[in-house]
Each structure stands twice: as C-alpha cells, then as structure tokens.
Subunit: 252 residues, 2 copies
C-alpha cells in the first residue's frame, strides 16, 4: 500500500461561558465528525478563557503542530470578543478593518443600525481571507492554516460549509462498530491481543449503560478497508467464543 | 476588602472517541459548574488522544499552572485505557497495584469474574490516594494536585461527589444574568463602558436564538455581591435607555 498523507487538525474553543459550564460546547464533536469525513484527524482540543495571552499561546502552539487549526467563539461585537486581536498578535500582523467585510456589514445593517461595535466584526488580522456567513453575515476568516469561526453552533456550521472546499484531506478514516452485551473486562484480554495483531488499526472500547442493560461498543478505525474487515471478522469470532452475540448496533 | 485567594483548575479530557465526535463530552461543563460552586475557577480544558506522550505533556503542564487538575477517561480495563501509566510517568513514579483497590475489585467481581484485565484497574501511580466509586467500584485516585476520574458521566459525577470534600475553595464567584431582546451590536458600546467602570467584574455577552426570537444574555460575575448588584442595576438602566426591557431570564 502506498504511504498515505496524514492530515491533522486541532480545535481551540474560546470562551469563559464554556469553562463556567454555562454553555455546553457542541462544536468540537461536530468538527471532529466533519473533518473525519474529509480524511482529516482531529488530534487535540483546547478550551481557553477570553484572555489574550491564553489565546495567542494556544493558536501559536497548535498551528505549528497540526495541518489545520479551527477556532470557535469570540468574534462578535462586544468587549469580551477578543479573538481577532489575539490571532493578529499570534501571527505578528496588524489588525485592520477588512474592506469587503465592512462592505457586507454596512449593507446588511443599513445606515440606521450600523455602529462602531458592529464594525469591529470587520477588524481582522492583515492578510485574512474571508469565510462566508450566510446566517448572520459577519464573516469568519482564514489566516495561514488557522480558520477563525463563530461560536454559535448554527453559524459555525454554516461557516464550515463555506470553507471546507479549501481543506485538502488525506486518506479517509473508515470505521466499523460492533457492540456486545459482554462487559469490557470480559473481552479486554482478547481485544488487547487483536490490537497487537493489527497495530495499524485503532481499536477503541466504550462501555454503555441503558438502564439495566449494559455492554460494550468496540470501534475499529483505519484507512485499509480490507484489513478493517478482516479484523472485524476476528472480533465477531472473539465475541462468539466468549458466548455472546456480536451486534451491529448498540441495543436500544 | 481583604485580598481573596484565587483557586484555579484545569480539566484534561482523555479519549479518541471525544476527538472523533463519536462521544459528546459533557464532563467539562459539569465540572465547571461544580467547581464554580466551590469557589474554584475552571481556567482551561484540554482534549487529548489516547497517546501517552500527549497525556504526560498535558498533565505536567497543567498541574504546574493550576491549583487542581482533573482528568476524565482512560481508566477502564481495556488496552486503550492508558491514563494511569501516563500519569505515573508524568509524576516520575512507578505504576503499582494498589492493595485496597485490588481488594475492592476482587470482592466486587468474585473469584469467577475477576481477571487480569479487571485487575489492571487497580494499577495506579505509587502514592495514589483512592477516590470511591459507588457506581461501578473501580476507584479513581488523587496524586498530588491531580484527580484521575472515569469518563462515563454517571461514574465521573459519583467520583466527584466522593472527592469534593478534599478541595479547598476560594471566594465563591457570584453571578447575575440579565437578558434582553436587544441585539449584541446595539448594546455593545454601553456594555463595554460598563466593563471599564467595573474592571473587577467579568461581564460576558451571549446572543441567543429561539426560532424567530433573538436577543442577548448578559452575565456579570464577581466575588463582591454589592458591586455586582450595583453593576446589574446600571445594566438594567442601560437596557431601558436603549428602549428595551431587562428580563431576569431568557424568554422561552
């Protein structure tokens, strides 16, 4: 098999409201799934406060380590929205008012409702390339390998749709899930041996609890479909050898 | 006012299943809320893969920066559960079989069901102090300022209840939330001025969308109740001056 290019990503979730537990983040899981479908592996996430030094440090560390970085949150019109200043600082460039972003905001709000706070949403690091926002107009942007997105999930998703043609993926990661009523501790030994036989695959074990029903979902992930299928067959045989039935889905 | 001790925390969420989007993390928001109630500020979160070097690096960086660190995930019986080996490595101590943890596991599973995979759940860094797990017995543990917890939310929450008497909190953070139908961009200027007048408070602005209803929730947070109450009154006046009504809750 030809060596496949591994493409990686990290997500930086920016916002005190996530850390205080006021808001449940749902963007990381969404980005993980979407990137996976494009052959990009989400390798790390960071949740940082609305503090410039923290955002600068996270963006700079992660943009060097991963192919792509996505930030969510902190690009609105209020004083606690400091992502753009921070990203400009991380890249060592000026924060400028982006003419096309300004044009879109002026057109959307009209002369009556445009104001300096809203125009701040057009302030971006020099060199930023806009990402369309069909939901609420104020654009996200890309600078280098960093994509700066809104935190509101509906807007973040629309922005991701607008940018995903720019991403160059690697080999797609395929997966097979097999569930069983066996407890993790019962299947652990055989599963560990299976992982040793297939070091190129990533085999995960996740217990589930549904009231009085419990069991384990095993997820095999890899880029070689034939190898994945063969390992899945061995896993089904292992489950049967332990006296249980392999299920293709988690029982309700 | 006397200087108050600031107590901080970080959370490390360990698991490929969170990064792939298979599993939605809900532990960070829970810990953020619980810690807040104890006067401990959750300052940072990291989501790392099931990779030893990544776990070691995150634990070592965060335990030096924050008063407390909580890890979730990776302490089950299967080959992909590598948190304990990683935490031992982070602290530079041996991984040993904890006698009391082993006793609990043997008693719970009985001679028929105990096996080497399940006994691995008793392997902990030397010096670990157990955290009770009333749900599924296998304990979590504390080493230094690091608390190692399960990833399954029901178990993580039970473990948190078991350990929270060990935490020494600081001044509790109080908060007042005020909502309005005003858009963020309309209130941004006055809100920024309010934040400047009250630098000791943390004022956050969060837009909400409920079908065709939208508006903004403003959250004021701080440790001085009188100051908070005064700032909240000024915020209500600001909202009225802009022609809207301050609401104590987000409209349905």
């Amino acid at each position: 098999m030809a060596a496949e290019r591994i493409v990686t990503a990290a997500v930086v979730i920016i916002g005190n409201e996530i850390l205080s537990g006021r808001t449940q983040d749902v963007n990381l899981a969404y980005l993980g799934q979407q990137l996976n479908a494009l052959g990009i592996r989400l390798r790390e996430g960071r949740i940082v406060a609305d503090v410039e030094d923290e955002i600068v440090a996270a963006v700079n560390e992660l943009r060097r380590r991963y192919t792509y970085v996505f930030t969510t949150g902190g690009i609105g019109p209020t004083h606690d929205d400091i992502t753009s200043e921070s990203v400009a600082k991380a890249f060592g460039v000026k924060l400028i008012r982006h003419p096309e972003a300004e044009r879109r905001l002026r057109e959307h709000y009209g002369p009556e409702r445009i104001n300096e706070a809203r125009l701040r949403m057009a302030d971006m690091p020099q060199g930023a390339e806009l990402i369309d926002n069909p939901v609420s107009i104020a654009p996200g942007y890309q600078i280098g390998n960093v994509f700066v997105l809104a935190g509101v999930p509906a807007i973040m998703r629309a922005m991701f749709d607008s940018l995903k043609h720019r991403l160059v993926g690697g080999a797609p990661v395929l997966s097979i899930s097999i569930s069983t009523r066996l407890a993790e501790g019962t299947i652990a030994e055989g599963l560990g041996a299976l992982q040793k036989r297939y070091p190129e695959l990533d085999i995960g074990s996740y217990p589930f609890f549904r009231g009085d029903r419990f069991g384990t979902t095993l997820v095999l992930r890899g880029i070689d479909a034939a190898m994945l299928s063969q390992a899945a067959q061995e896993l089904r045989d292992l489950i049967r050898a332990l006296g249980a039935a392999p299920l293709d889905e988690e029982p309700d």
